[in-house]
Structure formats: C-alpha cells, structure tokens
Symmetry: C2
Subunit: 161 residues, 2 copies
DNA sequence: TTGCTCCTCACGTCACGTGAGGTGGC
DNA sequence: TTGCTCCTCACGTCACGTGAGGTGGC
C-alpha cells in the first residue's frame, strides 16, 4: 500500500499488481485488523452479522471492502466491551433501520460507559498482578522486609475490589 | 461485618449471631467479590482449581475461608487478564511446589504485562465507542458540521488500531 | 511438485449456564 | 406454609476451533 502515492480519488481502484481493489482486505488481513480469528469472521458472516461479504470474481475468496471492514471494526469494539452475539445482532438490526439514530447513539454511549467501568476494574487487577509479582520477587531474593511490604501492598489492592 | 470492632486477633473467631467463622464467605459472597458466577465457582472446585473448599459442619454448605478466598481472587485476576483454565491449572500446580518462587514471579510479571497491553487496546476501543456515540449524536441533532468532525474523529481512532 | 492461502462442511471443544429435584433454618 | 439460600447431577448452550478434503496461482 505504501508507495502507491498520488491517488486522491475516493472511488475503489484496481491495483495493477494484485488485481485486487485497493483497500480491500483478505480474510487474513481483516482478522489481524479486527482481532477476530478467521473462523470467527466466517462464523459471523454465516449467522448474518456481516450481511453479504463481497467475493473475488475469479477465486471466490472473500474481499472485505471498506464498508464491510468498518462494520467488522465496530463489531470488534462492541465485542471487546463485552457485548454478546445477540447484542451485536441488535446493533446490526438497528443499522438497517433508517430511523434508529437515537437508539444507536444510546447503544454506543452505553457501551462506552460499560467499557470505561471494565477498564477501571482491569486497572485494579493489574495493580494486583504487579503487587503479586513484587511479592514473589521478594521471596526469590529472600528479602523479608520487601516481602512484608509486598504483602501489605497486595492486601491494600484486594480491599479495592 | 461492620460494627464488630475491637477484634485485633488474627485467628478465625466465631460470630455469635450466625455461627459462621468471621471472615468466611458464602458462595454468593465469594461470587460477588471475585466476579465469578456461583456455577463457575462450583465448576472450578470440581475440576480441581480450588482444592478442598471448607464446608459448614451443619449444613454442608461451602464456606470460603481467607486462604481459599485469596486463591479465588488471584485466579480472578489471572482469568480476567485472559489466562485459560489450563493456564490457571499451571498456576495452581506451581503453588503446590515449594521451589517455584521464580516461576511464580515470572507468571505474575508476564500476566501484568499482558493485562497492561490489553488495557491499552481497550482504551483505544473506548475512544472509538465514544467517537461513534458522538457521531450518532450529531446525526440525531441534524448537525452537519458536528457530524463531519465526528467522522474525522472516528477515522483517526481507527488508524490507531 | 511444493508451498501457500483460501474454501466448505461437519464435528469437537471450552467454559460455563440452566433446570430438575431436594434440603434446612426463619 | 412460605420464602430464601444452598446443594448435586445431568444436560444444554454459547462462541467459536479444528480437521478433513479440496482449489488455484507462483
């Protein structure tokens, strides 16, 4: 993609080298970008979360265009904030409705809040893990004072759960 | 528990009102503290992750003492940083060995790093979700300028994945 | 020919969730 | 008696993962 330069048009354009539309992604690329595995992408398509994913004329292979890729990335954010597949299906259904802007706003705002709360919990857990690492480090070094301090630190973190 | 006050001893002591050892937790309390569901706690016990959970003499109900509760909380931190059940079993096995301090230090340090990386990714996803909420908010308000700004913001966040 | 990526379809797996049927103290 | 929490055990479910068997361009 780098070095193509000079193209300022927005319409899809063919890459002379690969014959693929520039910007379209293979399933492997889509998996890496989104964090979903390849089987998961096929699974989501099968159960109707992605609609019709475009295919390469010749090979029949999936080609994720920018619209599909955008949807996949939105789903990845919702999934990683703890939304179930049922919840994602609800999102996709809303997208198909022309009058659902307010519901969509609400859905994203809710999930942003949920994710923020989850991040806070994970930060406490992170402090716990590093306190535990410190504790075992003190034990490895046979440093009784550091161990006592680490024990105190672990207990303090536990109280924050 | 509040109002018991005045007790500075460390040994378990019986609560006159409930007949339970002070500090011991029911399965419901353990579930709330750890974030695991009750079935999950029973499941983990069944597959050997918790060893022998103490039982109430009379009722036969589970009573999570402080040692068990500490283990459950450690497992909760490892689980929420993405460790599999197999990984948690490895942790439990290390705990049983007297010479595994270095491995345990490494295990916690690794998982602290992993969790830190995960938190960073989630923060980007959070920005994406709130940018999307802003986008749909602009659409609800029919504010074309805000919508254009929101589109830009969403694209900027996407580039950070 | 080898190696690589992709395909479909069926079955397997992981980590629980649920529900039936039952107990024991206020 | 009712309501509440807890129990065991079997089966169900969710969200994929894996593996067999096959294709198509370098």
């Amino acid at each position: 993609l780098a070095g193509v330069g000079g193209c300022v048009c927005r319409a899809p354009i063919m890459d002379c080298q690969t014959g693929r539309m520039i910007g379209d992604l293979t399933i492997r690329e889509m998996a890496q970008r989104s964090g979903f595995s390849e089987p998961t992408l096929r699974y989501y398509e099968k159960i109707g979360l992605l609609g019709a994913v475009p295919r390469d004329r010749d090979s029949g292979y999936r080609r994720y265009d920018s619209a599909t890729a955008e949807r996949v990335e939105a789903l990845a954010c919702l999934r990683s904030s703890g939304m179930s597949v049922t919840g994602m299906r609800r999102y996709v259904d809303l997208l198909a409705r022309p009058d659902a802007a307010e519901e969509l706003r609400q859905l994203f705002a809710d999930h942003a809040d949920r994710l923020a709360a989850q991040i806070e919990r994970l930060q406490v857990r992170h402090e716990y893990l590093s306190a535990k690492a410190g504790l075992w480090d003190a034990r490895v070094r046979h440093d009784a004072e550091a161990e006592a301090n680490a024990v105190t630190r672990v207990k303090e973190v536990l109280d924050r759960f």
